[in-house]
């Protein structure tokens, strides 16, 4: 993996976290981030991440990697919150 | 108002058969149309794409068929669409 791939995946990860934290259903924080700035920040990070992936690979591949990575992150982030919650209860 | 609309009939057998049978006709007709319209592609590529077109159309019809208000309507709409596609194909072949 070259630097563009790594930074692209990292930026997308941060973007997904921002969007998740701006959702009223998030369970990481006591209160969600305010919706508009949070989503805007997440969107910008995702765009930057996508552009970085586009530097590392062909456009089609970058689009596939981007979509796969987002599907994975958005599935897992709510579950991470459950694990944290379970730890807190113990 | 929602309650003024006519109720959606379930018609499980009739709708499912329409989706399965006419969906197949629709899918193969769509692939035939694609095959005719993309004659400039090499045959190996065109044939593979035509094959890949069949399951999405077929399964799409099978999955969407329960949106019709009744089994009769499903048969009429899907049958009409199939007839339209087949007619188009015939016209293209004759022209």
């Amino acid at each position: 993996m070259n630097a563009f791939t790594t930074s692209g995946l990292l930026l997308c990860f941060l973007g997904c976290c921002a969007i998740y934290l701006a959702s009223p259903n998030q369970r990481w924080l006591v209160r969600p981030l305010s919706a508009r700035p949070g989503r805007a920040l997440g969107g910008i990070l995702l765009i930057l991440g996508g552009l970085a992936l586009g530097q590392a690979m062909q456009a089609v591949t970058a689009a596939f990697v981007f979509a796969t990575w987002l599907m994975l992150l958005f599935s897992l982030l709510p579950y991470v919150a459950v694990l944290r919650q379970a730890d807190g209860e113990r | 108002m929602a309650d003024k609309l006519p109720p959606i009939r379930r018609d499980w057998v009739s709708k499912s058969l329409a989706g399965f049978l006419l969906g197949a006709v629709l899918a193969f007709a769509a692939s035939a149309l694609f095959n005719v319209l993309s004659a400039d592609l090499p045959m190996s590529v065109r044939g593979q794409l035509a094959m890949w077109l069949v399951p999405p159309v077929w399964l799409g019809a099978l999955g969407g068929v329960y949106f019709f208000a009744s089994g009769l309507r499903a048969w009429l709409w899907l049958g009409g669409a199939s007839a339209l596609l087949l007619g188009l194909l015939l016209a293209l072949r004759l022209s």
């Binding site: 993996m1 791939t5 995946l9 998740y20 959702s23 259903n25 998030q26 590392a56 690979m57 062909q58 089609v60 591949t61 596939f64 990697v65 979509a67 796969t68 990575w69 599907m71 994975l72 958005f74 599935s75 897992l76 982030l77 709510p78 579950y79 919150a81 459950v82 919650q85 379970a86 | 929602a2 609309l5 109720p7 959606i8 379930r10 193969f28 692939s31 035939a32 095959n35 592609l41 090499p42 045959m43 190996s44 590529v45 065109r46 044939g47 593979q48 794409l49 035509a50 094959m51 890949w52 069949v54 399951p55 999405p56 399964l59 799409g60 099978l62 999955g63 969407g64 329960y66 949106f67």
Partner: protein
């Protein structure tokens, strides 16, 4: 969305889901492992005993092998890198003439090397059936052999799965925005399972749509092609892939005149920078249609097959014959077709994407498991205040809970046992015995039988611990091989092989956590559930879980 539609599609979703859920669990669990088919093959392969040959000596190896074993000329492979599952640099296979394309059982494998004196030494060997068997499980939803009828079963499952996806989205649409990302864990179990099911299902929907459609195509393409040949291609489809006849009179060619493997590799890398060759597949090199496929991968591109793609070169002139299957250099039409394969098999973006697919595949297995539990939870008979005792649960929910637990955990136990048992049997009995299938199905059916015998509530925790133990035995077996080589066991130190051990260790930890959480839930659970253990037997089970 009218509530009529939601109600109708809920029926569709329930029926398609309950009919296919357990089969799809197996397909996704085994499929997630199949992403790492090559590391699995390397992990299970016994240490090589053949003498290594350098790439510089490969021309002699090729020429002498062809001279002494002419039946290898049809199709042989020269590997560019060493790996545990490749006993020698050069290898070929002989298939029975009447065998099925996907049937590997009748195939004979040969490996060739040069001894110190430069003479060819050929060994026939039997590679472990394990990686191929896990692949087969995922291709045909847990059936033992990849045959036409079994693929049709898979095709029907895939079609129902597609319907389940469409109907699931329709059912979810009214609450899609409001409940996005919601995962509410608490007293309302139905709510919790619904959220757990929805969050994975809706977010990874494109992944699942791709899997459903490609699986349906892989199952039925022969039939569709045959029908389209009649309807669309006037019977000429078979000729679409034929290469033009060679113009010169067919003469026997001397393979000694071929370019060296290194020269062929260099040609491919000049033609396509970024392409990393892994092996050379020589086809009909003594005939007029000689061709070398330089197989390899390009992380920046979409590959047409799981093992990458290839550049076809004439081994005598070095002329490029076809780049139709070269990753990153395909025409748009071929790229679209390759994308379908790549999106099913994680053949793009390198190992990062393989790991993503591995986790998405396991998440898919979780989707089907949670779907079944949701079905059970929805049909629970609740105890009201007026009832002195918990009501007897419906028979169908009890059976479905037992089947879900038995099939899903049986699949996990079976695969882990087949991996461990294969290695131990090889250490004890040598290559003659390959009991992969026997071990898998013994564990699989034993787990199902046990789950039905004692019920879901009493079997789920012991079965989770069994799955944990068998999976933990995977790295322990390698550890035994490393510490006690005299036992006949072995451990490979490559990252691919160590990755299998470490992943199994992580899997065992995850299963242990699940076992503990499940045991706690059952102990603290309500009596009006299929997950409750009747009071008279709670004590022994609970203490067993504490240990």
């Amino acid at each position: 969305m009218r509530t009529d539609f939601v109600r109708i599609y809920k029926s569709v979703h329930t029926w398609t889901g309950i009919l296919t859920g357990m089969a799809l669990f197996i397909a996704f669990y085994a499929g997630a492992l199949t992403v790492f088919k090559e590391p699995l093959a390397r992990w299970v392969a016994p240490p090589a005993e053949m003498r290594p040959v350098t790439l510089a000596d490969a021309p002699q190896l090729i020429a002498r092998t062809l001279a002494e074993h002419p039946d290898s000329a049809r199709d042989f492979t020269l590997h560019l890198h060493d790996a545990e599952h490749l006993p020698a640099r050069l290898g070929w296979q002989l298939r029975p003439a009447d065998g099925d394309d996907h049937d590997e059982s009748g195939v004979r494998h040969f490996a060739a090397t040069l001894d110190e004196g430069g003479a060819v030494q050929v060994n026939e060997y039997r590679p472990s059936e394990l990686p191929g068997f896990i692949d087969t499980l995922h291709r045909v939803v847990g059936l033992p052999f990849d045959t036409d009828p079994n693929r049709w079963v898979m095709g029907v499952v895939a079609a129902l799965y597609a319907l389940a996806l469409i109907s699931g989205v329709v059912v979810l649409l009214p609450s899609l925005v409001k409940d996005f990302f919601a995962l509410r864990v608490g007293r309302n179990l139905k709510r919790m399972w619904l959220d757990a099911h929805n969050v994975v299902g809706i977010v990874s929907l494109p992944f699942h749509v791709v899997m459903a459609l490609t699986a349906a195509v892989f199952a039925f393409h022969d039939g569709i092609y045959a029908l389209q040949d009649q309807l669309l291609h006037d019977g000429k489809w078979g000729s679409a892939f034929q290469r033009p006849k060679p113009s010169a009179a067919a003469a026997q060619r001397d393979p000694a005149a071929m370019l060296t493997p290194q020269a062929l590799v260099d040609k491919a890398m000049v033609f396509a920078p970024g392409f990393v060759p892994s092996m050379l597949q020589y086809q009909q090199v003594t005939g007029p249609r000689a061709v070398v496929r330089v197989w390899g991968k390009d992380e920046a591109a979409v590959s047409p097959r799981a093992r990458g793609g290839f550049l076809a070169i004439d081994p005598y002139s070095g002329k490029v014959m076809s780049s139709d299957f070269l990753p990153g250099r395909q025409s748009t039409g071929n790229l679209v077709i390759s994308s379908f394969f790549a999106l099913h098999m994680a053949a793009f973006g390198g190992s990062a994407v393989q790991w993503m697919y591995f986790v998405l595949g396991l998440a898919g297995a979780w989707l089907f498991y949670s779907g079944n539990l949701l079905w059970v939870e929805t049909r629970r008979r609740k105890q009201t205040r007026e009832m002195p005792e918990a009501p007897v649960q419906r028979r169908d929910t009890r059976l479905m809970a037992a089947a879900t637990v038995g099939v899903c955990l049986g699949c996990i136990c079976g695969i882990s046992l087949a991996m461990v048992g294969g290695k131990w049997l090889y250490a004890l009995a040598g290559p003659a015995v390959d009991a992969t299938r026997l071990l898998y199905y013994a564990a699989f059916f034993a787990c199902i039988g046990w789950a039905f015998l004692v019920g879901a509530a009493r079997s789920v925790v012991p079965l989770l611990w069994l799955a944990c133990g068998l999976t933990l035995a995977i790295p322990l077996t390698s550890l035994s091989g490393a510490l006690l080589p005299a036992s006949g066991l072995w451990a490979h130190a490559s990252w691919a092989s160590l990755g299998v051990d470490l992943t199994a260790l992580a899997g065992a930890v995850a299963l242990a956590i699940m076992a503990r959480v499940t045991a706690r839930r059952i102990a603290a659970g309500r009596p009006d559930s299929v997950w409750s253990v009747p009071a008279s037997t709670t004590a022994p089970v609970a203490t067993a879980n504490q240990s």
